[in-house]
Symmetry: C2
């Protein structure tokens, strides 16, 4: 069934409390097993040879010397992967094309970025494997490369893909281009709108690619048997999707691959698609032994997906009393080496927080000689929000309207028509604006060189295919089996809480765990903030399935009609008004005799969850700018986000805080630095600076709960919205502090200092 | 539901064929992972200190020196296991009492047999663990012991359990006894029956305990976390039962233990109950690190359950034309150190092959200073069948009636009233007798010192709790998840075949695998030949559940009512006579769009399978006796067994052949040899001689198929019946060869030679 379960207000006993997570002790004691923690007898170590060139045709690869090295058991190159047709599949919020995926996993005609996999070796030790990599001779024809998005869009730019003609444009282009696709969304008449406006602001913004920065590099262990069956342990956001991708790339039947999801040390969208997994299986297939690949941080930076860097132009017009009339944006997003950036969701989310009559959005998906972009928490949205919320801030400031009041005037609400399609349903944007405005942090007095910024974010959230099962054990405890990966930590507990709430038992009686790919039906990747929304809906379906059986069993034991039995407070009891009286039975009592009354009681769900509710957040940040060094210090941070319903408020707060912190990193410090040679110069956490504890204040998280009408508990999802506003909020705060609007990020000390110095020079001139 | 699905004759495409087993390649390439093949980071090695005394009070245990040894991380003794109340639970065909199980796992007041666990150590290496065992000081008060069953029944025998008074006797005994229980079954008036008989034969038989001889010693890996959750990898016939036992013994909630069944290198009933598992968890709990215990062969022989040794008296009377009128048996079975031998099923199976009006069976369950008896393939039945079938052979010979004809005259059939309770349903005993009689092997001429023996066997077979799930993957392949352990090898494939048959797809599209204990509902141990019967029924339930969903989905896609759709030949197609016409859809076509039409399609079953059908076998063996050495050589062997329906005939033949070979070992060579000190003298495969390839001829297996009316494919189960007749058949053949009826087994060369010499001496005298 395509499942939507309507929201029903009810008294809650478990949902909304803050129990300790089931997976906590294993994680803090080091027992939890991550991707690199699995080993098999006889396993080999796989290492990948990567291109040192940003763009090069691969004339030939000679692996003979490597193969001759004692201890080397297999080498794979492009010859070990089949050609793939153009075939698209969802992998989180970004769609992948198998024609590209096979080429990203192992370079085929060309190496398209520094770090692109060109060959891989399996050997009896890492040392031998590394030595073997040096013995592989690749004959490259080095080609001109392009790194920057605007450069790549120029007609004379080096073209990555000779077969790539810009899609969705008319007339059909007559020559290949790095612009893979042009998207356009229109509502009303934007030119007419601007003519009506009292104030028009237009700005151009540039951002750098940043990496998800998950603490655990990609790691997997593959074992391929002679009968064509493969076992794969891997750190993934979706083992079913990884299974599907490996099956496709290796031309295997889906049932022949069993994927065991390991604990995952962060994903944020970066582990929605395969990198080393097909390579490990291919090596194992050739070597007839298990193969383990653990990527280094250097490899993660050079060869897994960061987010897009982008160029965005935003133009908005409003009346003098602050009513937005027209909005226009052009989004140019780097896709990396293969088409498919996050520009689609970005272009649909650009103005969706506001009720604007005239909108025009054009978006370009642009290939450049960088690693293929992957999803990153609300993919693409923070970049365009940086632009839109900066322009709104400028309009509000110019009109002397409080930035929250300005947004309140224009805020989308239930029934607002979006420019990309649907009308918005019941949403809580206004409630987040009001909560932010009411927060004491909004009234803290500021000192010199300090400034306050406000920005907001919108995200769609998602549902999709989800399965789960719960087995009621003979002592009344419950084994809950989940197919949706607990990426962020906390999902397991939230889902166990939902099951406990439904069954009417304590949450510590429910033990949640993950299945591998054989044991449950298909589950989509944990992406789009769908974990608790869709997983929770599946848990409700499964729990209610079990309750139905519990009622039947109790009716049988008590010899009353099933209709006379209701499940309430964890017990089968006489339904109100029924003529049948009987002694209630607890879940444990029914479970104890389940074997004798017909077998174990279980509940199952295989659903495609529909009805995800959009999420909104309003954020306030106070910064202090050091005019001597350009350092931006974040003084205090407040986020008010509508999550629909917080199942486990502490973990929801963690999601809100986590997104903010990653947004702070994006706004202030993180960036990929490329040399003129097209090689990444900072592939490590020493030179690529994510925020550390001393960089961030405590983030005040205000949970707003406007129930999603299409979820039994009102859940919307909460994992992504929080990252959308920080880039804009911080830029707006910096502007408030120093009076300079900087439209390039990160706002690293050199860039801020340069802006200050430039402004001083301009003033002098 | 308590499930019985009636037999329905149908045309079969997959069932009855002989595909290669899904787990075959992994096993022959060494990839399959057995109990000892799992490791965790930081794991310790557990070793067990065992009593050198057959019977001794444990005054004290001093572990301080062991604990002080560097590298020793934990020591456990009786103090680490809680007292258990008398509480019984099924574990295969034998019921366990937790009061006893905890004492068998770790000696409490007394050590009750040579090899009884007294303490255990977890250390950083096996060498340190062994050294530590030597440092443990146990203060024993050595007590007199008793090994033999008849000795143990004497009033002045040393008593193992001061609290054990013979149960089920009146008046209640006034002093403790090694006789734990007296069972009695009566039908008609046996004394009157004997008075009517023309011929009465009475004999006394003695057999030795034998071990199941599984090639893989018990082995497990346990990891207990500080939050009270335990993971356990172990070689078991039933991970859910092991979970239940460990939870009970360690006083944990069931959901807190997750048991992963490893591949299992044989069980035959010997892995129905825990030995090292609770010890490993207790050590891990104390050491805060994973603990691995791999038992040695010596430990397996000394401390895991062999079958009972026994003393059996059988008296039968018949008319001169061979109609059995009365039958009487007294069964005295060793239980080992704790009550609960296989004497219950043995006493119920003794005469159940025959339609006899007057029956009297008395059985004693007797504790002795040996390891606690475990189930062994048709537990207890071969011993009593040795007696009954020997006496029948003697009667047939004395009356000059062909031994098969004699049995045909008396054979039970549908409607025969058993002496222990039920009337027999549809059975195939007569068909096996007829098949044996018709077999060419029954007419091969015999040479000097050669003899032919016939014997038969009956077994109940069983159903019980079983769960499974099947998930239809996006490419139409199927993941089949089983909770019933594939002990013998072949079960997985048989169940995959049933699913393939139901779904109408090729068997290689179905990939079967085992779940751990969290992922499915409860499954009973694989015992009582229930695997294919109950597992098959669960698979049918799950497949039909999936088919119902496939029909619904096809109806939705084709926009026709569900009633118009039938599932036939692997396709949803218009039901005959329906007005709705539509293009059929294959399983793969429906699966491909399942996500879009509502989510994965799965089928589930949690059943308590009822309606197991009794199994019967008739066996013919030809032997040659070497009068110089006493060596009995098996020349040819034939078994005709009613299996109801052979899902995979090759694996059914393997079951028939395997049981015969184990029976040959039991009949000819296997025995436990105890010294006067009560210590086992042959705890190893060099001195305990199981049959090797050169000892056994090819076993001709004739599959008889009289469908079980209470199974959708007519399955009865086939794993146990085959072992019942060999002891008797071989004894009867030896008697035919040399004219001497030997009532003690094994018929090892020394025993046969002694019998020959004794007979010669008697003749001379």
């Amino acid at each position: 069934m395509s499942t939507t379960i309507k929201y029903e207000p009810r008294e809650l006993k478990v949902v909304g409390t803050r129990p300790i997570r089931h997976d906590g002790v294993d994680k803090v004691t080091g027992r939890a097993r991550y991707g690199a923690d699995f080993d098999l007898p006889g396993q080999l170590i796989g290492k990948v040879l990567r291109s040192p060139h940003a763009h090069a045709r691969i004339r030939s690869i000679d692996v003979s010397a490597a193969l001759a090295l004692p201890g080397v058991k297999a080498v794979v190159t492009r010859d070990d992967f089949a050609e793939m047709p153009e075939e698209y599949a969802a992998a989180g919020e970004i769609v992948v094309n198998f024609y590209d995926v096979t080429r990203n996993v192992m370079a085929r005609e060309k190496a398209l970025y520094d770090g692109h996999a060109v060959a891989a070796v399996a050997a009896t030790s890492e040392a031998i494997a590394k030595q073997a990599l040096k013995l592989i001779k690749v004959d490259y024809e080095v080609l001109p490369h392009v790194i920057d998005v605007l450069e790549a869009m120029k007609p004379d730019a080096p073209v990555l893909h000779e077969h790539q003609y810009t899609q969705l444009v008319t007339p059909k282009p007559d020559k290949p281009s790095n612009v893979a696709k042009r998207l356009e969304f229109k509502r009303g008449d934007v030119e007419a709108g601007f003519r009506q406006a009292d104030l028009v602001v237009e700005r151009e913004f540039n951002t750098k690619p940043v990496h998800q920065g998950y603490i655990e590099p990609q790691a997997c262990l593959a074992s391929y048997s002679e009968d064509g069956q493969a076992d794969l342990w891997t750190s993934t956001q979706g083992h079913f999707v990884f299974r599907a991708q490996c099956a496709k790339l290796l031309q295997m039947e889906v049932s022949k691959i069993r994927v065991m999801p390991t604990e995952i040390g962060g994903g944020f969208g970066g582990k929605n698609t395969v990198y080393c997994e097909p390579v490990a299986i291919a090596l194992s297939r050739k070597a007839h032994r298990p193969v383990k690949i653990v990527m280094t941080r250097d490899e993660v930076f050079r060869a897994t997906g960061p987010t897009s860097g982008a160029n965005v132009r935003v133009k908005m017009g409003c009346t003098r009393d602050g009513r937005i009339i027209a909005a226009e944006a052009v989004l140019n997003y780097q896709a990396g080496a293969f088409a498919g950036s996050s520009v689609s969701p970005a272009s649909m989310s650009a103005f969706t927080r506001y009720d604007v009559d005239h909108v025009h959005v054009v978006a370009h998906d642009v290939t450049v000689n960088r690693p293929k972009v992957a999803a990153y928490r609300a993919p693409g949205a923070p970049i365009v929000a940086f632009g839109v919320e900066s322009v709104i801030d400028e309009m509000a400031k110019k009109l002397g309207i409080d930035p929250i009041d300005f947004r309140l005037k224009n805020a989308a609400r239930e029934g607002t028509q979006s420019y990309y399609g649907p009308k918005l349903g019941s949403i809580g944007f206004i409630e987040t604006l009001q909560a932010a405005k009411a927060h004491p942090n909004y009234r803290v007095p500021l000192g010199p060189n300090q400034g306050r910024g406000v920005a907001t974010g919108f995200w769609f959230n998602a549902g999709n295919e989800t399965s789960c099962a719960l087995n009621i054990n003979e002592d009344g405890t419950v084994s809950l089996v989940l197919g949706v990966v607990d990426v962020a930590g906390g999902l397991r507990t939230a889902l166990a809480m939902i099951v406990a709430e439904e069954l009417g038992i304590d949450v510590d009686k429910v033990r949640p765990s993950h299945s591998d790919t054989t044991e449950l039906g298909f589950n989509f990747v944990t992406a789009g903030s769908r974990g608790t929304f869709a997983g929770g809906m599946a848990c409700v379906v499964a729990a209610r399935d079990a309750i139905e059986k519990l009622r039947q069993r109790a009716a049988k034991i008590r010899e009353v009609p099933v209709d006379a039995v209701e499940w309430k407070d964890g017990r089968a009891q006489p339904i109100q008004g029924s003529a049948h009286r009987f002694a209630p039975m607890t879940l444990a009592e029914i479970a104890k005799v389940a074997g004798k009354t017909g077998g174990t009681i279980a509940g199952h769900a295989e659903i495609n969850a529909q009805g995800a509710g959009p999420g909104f957040a309003t954020q306030i940040v106070d910064v202090e700018v050091d005019r001597e060094t350009g350092l931006v210090k974040v003084l205090r941070y407040t986020i008010a986000q509508d999550v629909g319903k917080a199942i486990h408020p502490a973990y929801v707060e963690g999601q809100l805080q986590g997104g903010v912190v990653q947004g702070i990193g994006w706004a202030l410090n993180e960036e990929y630095v490329y040399g003129k040679d097209g090689r990444l110069q900072n592939p490590g956490f020493l030179d690529y600076r994510v925020p550390v504890a001393s960089d961030v204040p405590f983030v005040d998280a205000v949970i707003v709960e406007v129930p999603n009408p299409n979820h039994p508990y009102g859940v919307r999802g909460c994992g992504e919205v929080s990252i959308i506003a920080p880039m804009a909020a911080i830029a707006n705060a910096v502007e408030s502090a120093i009076g300079i609007r900087i439209c390039e990020q990160p706002l690293s000390p050199p860039r801020v200092l340069a802006a200050i110095e430039e402004a001083a020079a301009t003033r002098k001139a």
